[in-house]
């Protein structure tokens, strides 16, 4: 579609203009800078500059005990921080060989899938906004508020959740949380259905998104793409299905796959994933009923902080509290790679431990960082307005891009 030559040497009027798209531009939804060479409205070439909000998390992590690294992971993909938190806990649990109870696993699944819905609905509705359709966004944003209220009930915060601890959760889900989740499961399908009917067969939306930024499966794999954008290109790689963690293998769900990897199929894949997430939450809610209701963490006193009142009244709890906080508990001398299916791809944690209180080296495999590197090459030949919605559909989150 856009393959015709954008300018020729013998055209006297061919003069390129340079456009700084970003670092703060309302259409990029985050701190992204692309210096574009434009021929009229068509992009001839582009260079991405990243790192504007680099916070040296990997370096900071080398100086923090394991449980204090959770707040750092919040700030990676802050649209779905519970997934990052859980991924980190599971990495440490894998290293320490901690087996979490089934109820904890299902609680985690509920929370992670809620986070996935929150992330996907933002991405898809903002994609609509970028194509000029504000209505869908104004409807569906209420559902994100519903999810954030569930977060508040579970952990007290909304965006940077810092939820869960090594071995489980800091507190049990309360009854209001369960009520809110049940209410969400009732209301959200209607909202999502309405959202889909606004977009899925909307002529204007399809014209704007179909065949834009189409990527073949080979190219996507060569660029190490993961997540919905890889699945939209036709590769059914989902960490939840391939390397199930946290009892995902107990539940049934499908991995939606797109056809031609364009913006439209990414949109459809994300919508379908939201339906699958709802399915997963429903199953997890049913399973959780059968588990003992008072279990919300594994029995690992060496790593799970005791409740504060016990610390003040019980000698043993005080000792464990002290040992955990001061990092006096030996950890194995090993290395571990664990990955979870983040909302925009495989979020991996590569942890090298030397037995101390903090990691010797911690590397985050951040899907946004790896997915985004194709953005400038794939924008070549696109219209500027198409490149904007292409960026939107990649769901690159600045916090995760820059770590």
């Amino acid at each position: 579609m856009h393959n015709h030559p954008v300018f020729t040497d013998n055209d006297p009027q061919a003069e390129l203009s340079t456009l700084n798209l970003g670092p703060t531009h309302p259409a990029t939804h985050g701190v992204f800078q692309n210096v574009l060479q434009l021929d009229g409205e068509r992009i001839v070439s582009g260079v991405s500059t990243i790192g504007y909000i680099h916070r040296a998390f990997e370096k900071i992590a080398e100086h923090r005990p394991f449980y204090q690294i959770t707040p750092l992971t919040d700030r990676l993909n802050y649209c779905s921080s519970p997934i990052n938190n859980m991924g980190w806990h599971m990495t440490v649990e894998k290293m320490l060989d901690i087996k979490t109870p089934k109820r904890v696993d299902y609680m985690r699944i509920i929370l992670m899938e809620l986070a996935r819905i929150a992330d996907h609905l933002i991405c898809n509705s903002i994609l609509g906004v970028d194509t000029g359709a504000l209505t869908g966004f104004t409807y569906i944003i209420q559902s994100r508020e519903d999810i954030y209220e569930i977060y508040e009930e579970i952990c007290g915060t909304r965006l940077t959740t810092n939820v869960g601890r090594i071995g489980g959760f800091e507190r049990n889900f309360n009854q209001i949380a369960f009520q809110k989740i049940r209410k969400f499961l009732k209301t959200y399908p209607l909202v999502l259905k309405e959202f889909e009917s606004l977009f899925n067969r909307n002529r204007i939306f399809i014209d704007r998104t179909k065949d834009i930024g189409a990527v073949s499966a080979e190219t996507a794999l060569s660029y190490s793409w993961t997540g919905p954008i890889l699945r939209a290109a036709g590769v059914d790689y989902d960490v939840r299905a391939m390397n199930p963690y946290s009892s995902y293998d107990d539940l049934e769900f499908e991995v939606p796959v797109g056809e031609n990897g364009d913006v439209y199929s990414r949109f459809l894949v994300r919508n379908e994933e939201m339906w699958q997430s709802l399915r997963l939450i429903e199953q997890a809610m049913a399973k959780i009923e059968k588990e003992p209701a008072d279990i919300f963490h594994a029995d690992v006193p060496d790593f799970y902080l005791p409740p504060k009142e016990e610390v003040y009244n019980n000698m043993e709890a005080l000792i464990y509290h002290f040992k955990i906080v001061m990092g006096e508990i030996p950890t194995p001398h090993t290395e571990v790679y664990h990955s979870v299916e983040g909302a925009n791809g495989e979020l991996g944690f590569y942890l090298v431990n030397d037995g101390g209180r903090s990691p010797y080296r911690l590397h985050f495999r951040r899907p946004s960082f790896i997915n985004y590197q194709m953005y400038a090459p794939m924008s070549r030949g696109m219209l500027l307005s198409d490149a904007i919605i292409n960026m939107s559909s990649l769901n690159v989150i600045a916090g995760e891009l820059d770590a």
Binding site: Y223, M242, M326, T334, Y337, S339, V352, R365, D402
Partner: protein, 167 residues
């Protein structure tokens, strides 16, 4: 297709490379190899192209710094065979005065930014990389900040010193 076990994989690697590739271990089921920088591209290409393995997916490239070792810099590759659902980790250790290693960008486009990030933080120079510049840090920075000689805080700071517990 049948699942490839680590044992089969190990046999294949030993058969192909003999002593050029050594096995470090198998922490948490992830087979870890070590090779030298002269062999690394050959090894990666073999893992990627061998029809029975098909480690076509480059999960990650990163590095690690052990200042006390003779070869202090390790470059670490994580590969994933999506067909067999097996992961493998390959390490190459480099000497401090010669931090050059061939680039894997010819094999995977995705290696480009991963190598730039590794260069940015550890100063590993990937020979043959098309555009080896800093990526997250500012261009005129001189240090490679993830190296262990750079402390997170000013080492002369005393207000946080805990004399009782020695840290």
């Amino acid at each position: 297709m049948g699942k490839l076990t680590n044992e089969e994989l190990l046999n294949k690697v030993n058969e192909k490379f003999h002593d050029k590739v050594t096995t470090i271990g198998e922490p948490f089921g992830l087979l870890t190899f070590e090779t030298s920088k002269n062999e690394i591209i050959e090894v990666l290409a073999w893992f990627k192209d061998e029809p029975e393995l098909q480690f076509i997916f480059l999960t990650d490239i990163t590095a690690i710094h052990y200042p006390e070792l003779e070869k202090p810099f390790g470059v670490i590759y994580h590969l994933h065979s999506l067909v067999h659902n097996v992961r493998v980790r390959i390490k190459v250790f480099l000497e401090a005065h010669d931090v050059h290693i061939p680039s894997a960008t010819a094999l995977w486009n995705g290696a480009n930014w991963m190598e730039r990030e590794t260069y940015d933080f550890f100063g590993i120079i990937f020979d043959g990389h098309p555009d080896l510049r800093r990526i997250l840090n500012v261009d005129d920075m001189e240090a490679f900040p993830m190296r262990k000689e750079h402390p997170l805080e000013d080492p002369n700071r005393v207000d946080k010193k805990d004399y009782f517990f020695g840290r």
